[in-house]
Symmetry: D2
Subunit: 327 residues, 4 copies
């Protein structure tokens, strides 16, 4: 698996730098006959471009489908989707050209590739998740046909759970030029409450459902941890306490057991802050830096549709893989 491709049967390849010509994805392996309308993708991208969400930057993201859809349905061929970058102003980034912003991948990319697109983080920008959301929109349509629904939401931000208090705290942090992290909760459930989720999704031994979900979610830029069901709490329980389905989080031995699948993901605070920080430049010299621009005070609200998208990609893949279990 190349590093910009995800999945085995339902496969997504993404591309694009933050300030390049365009970002996009190619979805290969989506079964033929699935009805797709451009609005299915726009709707999800809109959730990621959070006008109403506190402290998020504004972007106009118009998807275009280049292939794979004919007469409103998938052909079984690769679905290419692109979103052009507009109103990028590379000049904004000239002053950061030689500085390794704290918490960012600037230094590691330079070390690895000897060279990088310094404009807004290039490929390591959070903007990359746009491609994931576009691809996830297709996966969600497939899953919904098979009675599977994915719903993520904000569990807490800056340690606060009350939405009103979160809002106030984020305004404060904006003023202070600082940022906050948080936790996203995600539930995968059956659309039909009676039948529940399909049983048997996930593949032993290395491609357990939770293992693949973990890779999918941790691969999102700022994610620093994930737990399933009782998670870290389970580590402190006794066997007699822990042995019930709720703590399992819907997965036993890496395979879905038909109950809701539940996981939580931790996101670190936005690394780009206006507040002065000490950083290093290309030559190892210490410099004071204030990272200005349209950065989110907290990326957690925008991470919600990304978590859903990555979850959908994993589930769609396992749905197709599960067709090979039996004769």
């Amino acid at each position: 698996m190349a590093s910009n491709t995800f999945g085995q049967l339902f496969r997504v390849t993404t591309f694009g730098e933050s300030h390049g010509e365009a970002l996009g994805c190619v979805i290969d392996g989506c079964p033929a006959g699935l009805e797709i309308h451009i609005s299915d993708i726009e709707k999800e991208l809109e959730r990621r471009r959070p006008g109403a969400v506190h402290g998020s930057r504004d972007e106009q993201d118009k998807p275009e489908i280049l292939s794979g859809i004919f007469e409103g349905k998938t052909l079984g061929t690769p679905i290419a989707i692109i979103v052009r970058n507009t109103n990028q102003n590379p000049a904004d980034y000239d002053k950061l050209k030689d500085i390794y912003r704290p918490g960012h991948a600037d230094s590691t990319w330079d070390a690895k590739f000897g060279f990088r697109d310094y404009r807004g983080g290039g490929r390591s920008s959070g903007r990359e998740t746009l491609s994931r959301v576009a691809a996830g929109a297709i996966a969600k349509k497939l899953l919904s046909l098979h009675g599977i629904e994915i719903k993520a939401d904000i569990s807490e931000i800056a340690g606060i759970q009350d939405p009103e208090k979160i809002k106030i705290r984020l305004e404060e942090l904006k003023t202070e030029g600082d940022s906050a992290g948080g936790i996203v909760n995600c539930i995968i459930s059956g659309v039909n409450e009676l039948s529940g989720l399909p049983i048997g999704l996930g593949e032993p031994v290395f491609d357990k459902l939770d293992a693949r979900l973990a890779a999918a979610i941790i691969s999102i830029g700022a994610c620093k941890g994930i737990e399933f069901g009782a998670g870290f709490t389970a580590a402190g329980l006794l066997g007699g306490e822990n042995n019930n389905d709720k703590n399992a989080g819907g997965i036993l031995g890496g395979i879905s057991n038909g109950q809701d699948i539940v996981f939580r993901a931790a996101f670190k605070p936005t690394s780009s802050i206006k507040k002065l920080q000490t950083a290093k430049d290309k030559n190892g010299k210490e410099v004071e830096v204030s990272v200005t621009g349209r950065h989110d005070v907290c990326i957690v609200p925008r991470a919600v549709p990304v978590v859903e998208a990555m979850t959908a990609l994993v589930l769609a893949d396992f749905l197709l893989l599960s067709r090979s279990s039996r004769l």
Copy 2:
């Protein structure tokens, strides 16, 4: 990637049921010329077979190398290693044949495959990790040549950190017929303190170093969560607080930055307990069950070398992959 194969360039395929003829692995992609002695593998398997460790069952695991080594060195061809199962007594499991043990994969395997090896969990047994440890031993040798060292240890068991108190608590639980979970801590560091870890391991976007480590570790049977660097704690920090290398856990943008890589993994308590539990049988009928046998009161001590092995497999793969970053 088939579900019993792990890795892209340094690849491991494992096989074997708990009470079948043998377990083993095939390591494909190990560079030629690496010195390997059978004792390298025995030593790691011995750590997983913890005589001295509290509450672990005894096994005699003798590895045999079938291919890939010639005159003491790897040939660049697949290295096959097998360990025969001895003294298994399938009769022990006859009474559990039609019962779905709580916390186990019995029901999900039946649902997925329509059929399963009920003897000790078959392929979903913790015994499967033996193959991982054997393969990890080869990966460790390769890594050590490149100055990389992996060291996992017990962070806490049953919420307790003091080794002496853990010992006492496990004895109590054994008597009570119950079990405990815990947390494993893992550090990847450079053998040479001055040069540190290689920078540039990990591949953007989906194969970030932490994403692949997460999949590797969560794929271990009882693991329910993982966090890198400050992990879930980072979710409550402000950007100004979190933006330092210690919290990053040695990884920025999915790529190693040369500092120690640190993660923690949560393991649930052993599902097999002597204490009476309510279970369901194949026909959905509720039954009372006591799972007897040589089960570990706590698998965390034996998870330590497994965590190291999986970490080694990920690192070895990224070491080879990193050779493609530049012209």
Copy 3:
């Protein structure tokens, strides 16, 4: 490997239908720092769009690079290239909507996917090779840096080897509304005659250099056969006669031996001919059909750059893979 992705480290994903919005490719795994200019791609596409070549249809194929190149060099991130379809007139194909053209994939696609883009063959059109050529242009640049050159040419068309006679024969066939097949010869050699080709490209056992080349070339639409070195002739030779390097075609045991690699590929005649043929329609009814449009009398001249492109993709991949053979 999904079916629209090719390669393991140097990986290409292609997309696009003959009469959809655009065709294109995403190249993942190209090392960073390689100089690429849009003209590198245009030049190869131009060879595929053979104005001067006898009996080929005219197309205007303008490539656009969407990502992966910064300041004229590859970033190590995915390189997305698209070519918009222009002046397609789907109405041309309405009359063939329900007819399975002889020699084409119309019937098999309908059987497989239950549905197809009937406009010019959709994804199964020869136009799909445009994406291969665009990707191959990048691979060629990488190879040329490492002293590897690929040169394909026409060995024969309609059984004729003399270029002048071929030209006359193709004019005749055009008048008759018929078509011709032919054979393409391909040589991979070292740019520097003294040093020759790199030794050691190709991976045992299943990814032998010739095995992967065979898959690459046979995957080109009309290709019906391939032979390496002495090929089918070798089947009639004695060991004493055959055991010389020339007959090996530069490959021993699936690995390059430093000498020129030589293979020949057979292409069937264009299936789309004006001449009346008996075909079946969707309902199994026999109909007489004349396939009009701008079809090539012989696709062999245009197959030449496609053969080179696929060869380049294989070689680029093996070049990167060969870096893992040793410690």
Copy 4:
């Protein structure tokens, strides 16, 4: 895909050197519930160990199943099969230790890996095909359940088609210390003549049925060419002549069309001959060499079951993959 693993869903990993401890394979992805008896494997291995076949060396190959089968049926877990090497006498090979036998992979392996198992060719020995045949036996069982049958036979040896004359010619060559090549013909057909082969096997664009078969067959040691349907002959036909199903060889656009699939594969003469040849040694010095031992005068008879096995592996994989084409 690592080079010793073949297939995407029905996957086989092989291992073993000619004179090492054992050879074998691990089959991952075989659906659960398939009845397998050790005799299914023995029967195919016996066809490869051709007592009655002219000029083949004798071996006793006893397969042992280590995992994946329970109560006579596949579990859906990896099936590991090993065959121990017996009566190998490495001393036989000492004199060839530093000599690069003409037509063999000795020199290329040394160049690639810096080191090789010189005993009988090590991993590059034809004995490696034993693992393919063992795995193919499982694939054949799966295919036969789905009405698919594979039948290969000798088309010609040393340019001769008459079996009696072939026999005589091989005896002559044995006496002369020389060897012969030949052509294998293979037909894939439906067990039930009325229903024929399944339509829709094969995946566009790069994983066309013929492309994958080509890779599978050319990956067999001595194979130098392959052609489908009319093959190289088609290159000389006109479109009007070629456009019929017989010439297509059962494949249109890379997808099976329900008719018999037909291909021919060319095998070079055995490289190991008793006749004196000029070879080079490790230091580039020319030496005269006579390769003695139990080498086949012609490997074509033994290639027949290997061709069938590889074909079965490809078909089994596509059978499972075809389940993803539709919703």
